[in-house]
């Protein structure tokens, strides 16, 4: 059962059938909570139960010393069972990643002899200190966990906290795994009226080294600059680099902390200030104006706004996949040239977005390694591609088309953003699609090259199914855009409306807790086309929404550590899988044999 459950149609059928029976029958869900390592019963465990269709309808049971729990008077149905205790993070029953085995209560189901194996959780704590060995307060500490995402192992941020007055942070309730600590902090003296130092109108660098050594030593470092105002004191124009435990500049170089159940590990980080990087952004000199925008979550982001006709926004994020916003500050130092300062050196993702009014907008994302003051020139010296086109949705392929419309329906209310991603440069360009389904890169910064075309929202139930073009070569979802000629592109969109449900069997009996994997037949399919689930206590599983196509269904008893998007790894299982062909809107129900 996926934690984010969609409606389980099969279940509705069961309930409807039972409601006709005269005396309402009730069922029970019960068992024992034990330590996953020792098998000892765990008293004082909080066990919660909720119907998968109404997760807010929660019941709680506090176990006694025998570790036993019992929920009585339950209607037949499928329930989410979770438990937690001091020293044991809240866990789903037989949980794997975001999946767990839901418990089915009903006729013929033994739901009263569950053995809930709780894994002891670990604590990761530490102190962030500065160059004087003083605690750094309010440092933002991000916890990354090595986890499976889209079929490959990677480090993903899972929690974030701020240090206290002792510079301490603490992450509790961590399960067995590999973790990394990252720290973003700002020197405290930056709060005392020191604003960013502007380098110069010409962009020339200013030497910092002499004055910084003083600060490093903690000596009587005098930053006396009689000519300088408070607003531009280069010796205080310092930042802490984004630092990963123990002292790495990037996530890739960070120490990986293996946490064992029940352990308390310490990861202290010392921050050392370095000169702030100054990023000059050159934009077309069209009456630029400066503005700061608020994001939805209240974070201030840095925006270089051109004017009402053309505007450009620059957002900086830490790291290559950057989710942590870096609050740089900006100054216009000459028309069309903006300086962003307060930026730590290291990997940074620059997101530049601009629009020419209306629905035409482009976003360009670029990961760069900043080690010195850098200029980003957005005035586009080279030739630009002239790409425009239309997005066609095939949301309804049945013959009941409305009169007066084409073979395809227009996306009236759906807002798309198309993303052109270059595998070569790593840059990506986004453009919004108008309500009429039209888009254009005319006048925007799309250079010629080879791009994969996708919808930018990965969670969208829509995807690009194919491309057609005049003036360019296309293959499946890839387009090769030449220089010097206009390109007309037609993007075909398909919708995920299929579902696959069924029961996992082993030796002829329903099998709980199996990893269910729906493998797309096209090996080049991106990992988002894989679907997973975990079979529930009655062996049932359900996956939706799925795009039409050919798939292979696998049920694996010990599949949770597989690098499942790797065709070589899957090769041994695929021959015993079940081929599934999903026509548009198909809902398929089938039984899967557990391997």
């Amino acid at each position: 059962m996926a934690r984010l459950l969609t409606v389980i149609l099969l279940l509705f059928g069961t309930i409807a059938a039972q409601s006709s029976a005269a005396p309402p029958t009730t069922y029970r869900i019960g068992g024992i909570v034990v330590d996953a390592l020792t098998g000892q019963p765990l008293g004082l465990s909080e066990v919660t139960l909720a119907p998968v269709t109404a997760l807010e309808d929660l019941q709680t049971f506090l176990t006694g010393p025998d570790g036993r729990f019992l929920f009585a008077n339950l209607a037949a149905g499928k329930y989410r069972l979770m438990a937690g205790r001091r020293g044991y993070a809240v866990q789903g029953f037989n949980a794997h990643e975001a999946y767990m085995t839901a418990i089915v209560a009903g006729p013929g189901q033994d739901s009263e002899h569950l053995r809930f194996r709780l894994s002891p959780s670990a604590v990761l704590t530490g102190t962030i200190s500065d160059q004087w060995n003083d605690p750094v307060r309010d440092a933002e500490v991000t916890l990354f966990q090595q986890s499976w995402s889209a079929g490959s192992r990677g480090l993903h941020p899972i929690n974030r906290t701020n240090t206290n007055d002792l510079g301490r942070y603490r992450f509790a309730h961590l399960l067995l795994g590999t973790y990394v600590i990252g720290v973003i902090a700002h020197p405290w003296w930056g709060n005392f009226g020191i604003r960013p130092f502007v380098i110069s109108h010409s962009g020339a660098q200013v030497g910092f080294s002499g004055q910084i050594e003083g600060i490093e030593d903690g000596g009587s470092a005098i930053a006396a600059d009689p000519g300088a105002s408070l607003a531009s004191n280069p010796a205080l124009d310092l930042v802490y680099p984004v630092t990963y435990f123990p002292s790495a500049a990037s996530l890739a170089d960070a120490a990986k902390l293996s946490l064992l159940p029940g352990a308390t590990e310490t990861a202290d980080v010392t921050l050392r200030p370095v000169p702030s990087i100054h990023l000059h952004v050159r934009v077309p000199p069209a009456a630029p104006a400066l503005a700061t925008n608020q994001t939805d979550d209240g974070e201030s982001i840095d925006v270089v706004q051109m004017d009402s006709v053309t505007n450009v926004a620059v957002v900086l994020n830490a790291g290559r996949e950057g989710s942590n916003n870096i609050p740089a500050s900006q100054t216009e130092i000459s028309p069309g040239l903006f300086e962003l300062s307060g930026i730590p050196p290291g990997d940074i993702t620059v997101v530049v977005s601009g629009s020419q009014g209306g629905n035409d907008s482009t976003t360009r994302t670029q990961s760069i390694q900043l080690s010195a003051n850098t200029e980003l020139d957005l005035t586009r010296h080279g030739a630009l591609a002239d790409v425009s086109g239309v997005v066609l949705t095939h949301l309804d392929t049945t013959e009941t088309q409305e009169k007066g419309t084409d073979q395809v329906s227009q996306p009236e209310r759906l807002m798309f953003t198309l993303e052109f991603r270059s595998r070569k440069t790593g840059e990506s360009y986004k453009t919004s699609v108008s309500s009429k389904g039209e888009f254009s890169f005319a006048g925007s910064a799309l250079p010629p090259g080879t791009y994969q075309v996708d919808l930018s929202d990965e969670l969208s139930p829509l995807q690009v199914s194919s491309l057609e073009a005049t003036g360019a070569t296309v293959s499946h979802r890839t387009i090769d855009i030449p220089a010097g000629q206009p390109v007309k592109l037609t993007v075909h969109i398909a919708e995920a409306k299929c579902s696959v449900a069924g029961v996992a069997f082993k030796d002829g009996k329903p099998f709980a807790g199996a990893m269910i994997l729906l493998v797309p037949q096209d090996p080049d399919q991106d990992p988002s086309q894989f679907h997973r689930d975990q079979s529930d206590s009655d062996g049932s599983f359900s996956m939706a929404p799925i795009f039409p196509g050919r798939y292979t269904l696998l049920a694996l008893e010990n599949g949770w550590d597989l690098e499942w998007s790797n065709p070589a790894v899957l090769f041994q299982y695929l021959p015993n899988g079940l081929p599934v062909e999903l026509k548009p809107d198909a809902s398929v129900s089938l039984n899967a044999k557990v391997q």
């Binding site: 049971f61 007055d165 903690g218 470092a221």
Partner: protein, 546 residues
Amino acid sequence: MLRPILSVLLLASPLLLTSRLMAQQSSLNSSSCPCTLRGTVIDSVTGNPVRGAFVQASTGSAWSAFTDAEGKFQFDALPIGPIAIHAAKPGYLSEDDFGSRAPKNFSLQLGPDAAPAVLKLTPEGLIFGQITDEDGEPLEGLTVWLFYRNPTGRGLSPNSRLRAVADDEGKFRIAGLPPGTCYLAVRPMEGPALTSTRNAQVPQGFAPVYYPAAPDISSAMPIKVRPGRPSQANFSLKREPFVRLTGTVSGYSPEQQVVLRLQDFLGGPMSHEIAFDASSGNFQSKWIPPGAYTLFASTNIPGTFDASVAFSSARQSFNAHSTLSGIHLVLQPSINIPVVVRGLPFANSENESSPNFILLLLAKGQASRGPSHYATKANAPTAAPSGPLSLTVPNVEPGTYDVNAVVYRGGSYYLESVNWGSTNLLRDPLVLDSSGAVPPIDVVVREGAATLSGTVVSGNQPVGAAVIVFPPDQQMPPGFAFSGPDGAFTLHLAPGTYRVLALDNFTSLDLENHDVLRSISARAQEVTLTQSQTASLRLELTTVEE
């Protein structure tokens, strides 16, 4: 919330004595600068040097330095003349912690051979503790709120900036506290996460408490915060059966939407949902911790929050120690109270320097102030250039209110009277029942306020302090002012005889306690002020005993 100045952030005693001398020297000897300023930053409690403190010296330009291992700093090549010095470090109170009337800078006249400056930093106060249940098991995720006694002497004000969430070991820390007296309360997690049912029909959980285990403010134990000396405050909470509130609401028409809100004794927004059936008028709360609650019901036409749209409301407070049923709320139409202000010169309210007026109604005796009611000149319709100003306090529910009228930006104006019928609102509360038409609140403003200025000293040192002014009418609440780091304060007062007192710390005082008031007012200086008179006082600081 007003926050008092409780101590002086920066002191440089040698400099105060020498600065006048130096200014004389510098005028004779200006050619010998650029000057050098040396100094030390020390901890005001331990007297130890503070290493790594940020020191800034500024004239028009700024110079910055960090102190070395001995707490020393040095600026070279400074110009002769006045210069401001400022020191800061995490763990020490900054100016923000003392409120806006706090010392901005320490300033001196810089000349050749300047004596070393000594800057004192006051270490912050800290409260830490642990929250456990009746079995000694740590409780995680509970929020600890910090309260100060309201300077106006009425109840407590939470400091939303200063709160903490207990970690997985039940531990919490609240740092950055100025010295003074505060109160702590623990509010259990909101929402459906009841700690345990223990399989009982009635869910159990934790009720909010004031430190250490008080169900209300009257039995709460104050916590003394001292600079650099952490205070410990542990909570041991007991699981109690939760309660439910059920009853009916009447007094609304079918097209009106009724909104029910519940506030616990900590006030603030409550997420406790109440199920309400408009057709029957029945309501039922979720399971909630036992304790003191205020239930507030009002009609709200969806989408309109216009003050001119009348609505009905009802409010009831009770102690829910067990499940309460049969609560009945009768919605009463809210009342618009006219306000007539005489004697205030009319001027374009766009003009920021013209005197302005606000009248606030504060619901009395409520855990929470509820919705705020006020009338202000800024919101008044354009009035005739002369004659009284007519204002309205809209949509006031029946109840008892303290009235707070303020003339601001008008140093020469004072309030002569605020009357409501025969009630003197400067002294007595406004009691509003639902009997329909209400007389106007009659405000008389006069020109010719007396100006009382002065200096607060401790020994011979000027100090920042809270200045308390007891009005001629002993029934009236005292007024407050704050002296700056130079000890200076200024007050504009109506003519009369006042008793004036300077206190180092008034957050520990219970100003609703008449014995306390009497004991401190005995130490006050008396001053009689006539119309437009300017008077000056030198007040010796009174230290509040612990």
